[in-house]
Symmetry: C2
């Protein structure tokens, strides 16, 4: 097992009850990443399902999850011809942490797009021209560092040692007081442990960018209220391009849309989250 | 009360339990519109909340709702400084019809956008240049009819008599075998009963377009699996511009994104749904 595989594995306790051990490496400080929690919820739903993929996941983030044991309660809601539908809740210390509605189905890895949009995928500079972030964005003194091409575990300092992200420098101006003024963020993404892209690492990737509102008016962290993501294709091995935009920041709320494209040039995931604008 | 106000009203039965009478006018044949059901769910959540607006709603469509009595079960999940979070389920005849996760908050009607995108709102021809659809899209022989400027109830033949939609003809080519080849659909929207735009009519509007995949490869109806929509501003009175696009149709699934702009030129709602491509 890889580190990400271990960190998202679930053990069946009983009908509709699963146990997970949440890994502190997939968070910043003591707050675990919402995408990581969606990956764990997705695994539990697929375990409970006759289908192979979590094609649609809506998550409501109620409370902050902490590293350590958690229980996932999965309630079967409907089985149709092509999909199963579930409610799933991540519980810690008797408290509900994340509520989710998950639809599972089995996607055909060979399915070709019938239509794939008239907007091209936004360009992302080559991996070698992108930057790594040497501290998690929550830290008050993050900095851009030279790319590190070493593939493998870099130690145990947190998210940036689990997840290898290479940021498009044009979207990272917020780091030194030059935000671009647009809701945007773009990065290459892969897991340092060598775990190749699948539905669970995509769940992590759709919530892995620093909040796009850091380029407009957010300061510090921006808590996600709701995030829905859809798996659109089975991803190919290799780097993932994570492309974040947003449509509106107003009244202390903003949306963040993420598209993920795989190394075969296909749209494999799309998400939208509604978040509160960070004021810290 | 207006017809739409009546049709979405909920009566409190007990803590977390509400009753509604579902109006056959807000559906096609015997299948009620998903947006109408979200409006009813949103009213129940706001009734149960200290806040005024359903800012985020994720709905999983389990079964087809029928006209007549329904119960809404609302479970309070969390109250924070600025928002309350709920699970809500629409139940008929002891069966769960729609599961929803709803976040309520109170938006400031005077809030000005901090940033409102670098893509302009897609253009929609003037109301007078748009067409009405004289039969519901599910009907096998829908047709474009001359605009009808009469404001008020036209009778009792169904959805088109409750909802006055003026379709952009360039997105309606699927009606006569000339689909545009793109996931798209655009229309002006208002309620014939004179009910002015609010969060509940927006819930209806985000699911009111004929499926955008009719312009690509869908035939007949395309069942929505999941729809998440966010209220982004309190809408002004008048016509709403409903602008539908999509990013990908593949493997029998497509996404439909809807933005709604009000008569004051503001983005007031955004939604995305994942649906099965109709094959009927």
């Amino acid at each position: 097992m890889s580190r990400f595989g271990d960190a998202t594995s679930v053990e069946r306790l009983a009908e509709g009850r699963y146990r997970a051990e949440l890994d502190e490496g997939f968070g910043f400080a003591q707050a675990l990443n919402g995408g990581y929690l969606m990956a764990v919820l997705g695994r539990a739903a697929v375990e409970a399902s006759a289908h192979a993929h979590p094609v649609s996941t809506s998550a409501a983030f109620l409370r902050v999850a902490k590293p350590g044991p958690a229980e996932i309660v999965v309630e079967h809601r409907k089985s149709g011809r092509t999909a199963d539908m579930f409610r799933a809740t991540l519980v810690q210390d008797g408290k509900s942490i994340v509520d989710a509605q998950i639809t599972t189905a089995t996607l055909d890895p060979a399915a070709e797009p019938v239509w794939a949009g008239d907007r091209p995928a936004p360009a992302l500079p080559p991996v070698a021209s992108c930057s790594i972030l040497d501290e998690p964005p929550k830290n008050t003194t993050p900095r851009i560092a030279a790319p590190d091409d070493e593939f493998g575990d870099r130690g145990d300092r947190g998210f940036a040692d689990r997840v290898d992200m290479r940021f498009d420098p044009s979207t990272m101006g917020w780091l030194d007081g030059r935000p671009s003024g647009r809701l945007e963020g773009r990065a290459w993404f892969r897991l340092r442990c060598g775990y190749e892209p699948d539905a669970y690492s995509l769940a992590l990737a759709v919530d892995a960018l620093p909040p796009v509102a850091l380029n407009v008016d957010a300061k510090g962290w921006s808590p996600t209220v709701e995030l829905t993501w859809h798996l659109r294709a089975v991803p190919a091995p290799g780097w993932l391009a994570v492309l974040g935009t947003g449509r509106l920041s107003a009244g202390g709320w903003f949306d963040e849309d993420v598209e993920i494209w795989d190394s075969a040039g296909r749209l494999v995931a799309q998400s939208r989250q509604l978040a509160r604008t960070g004021r810290a």
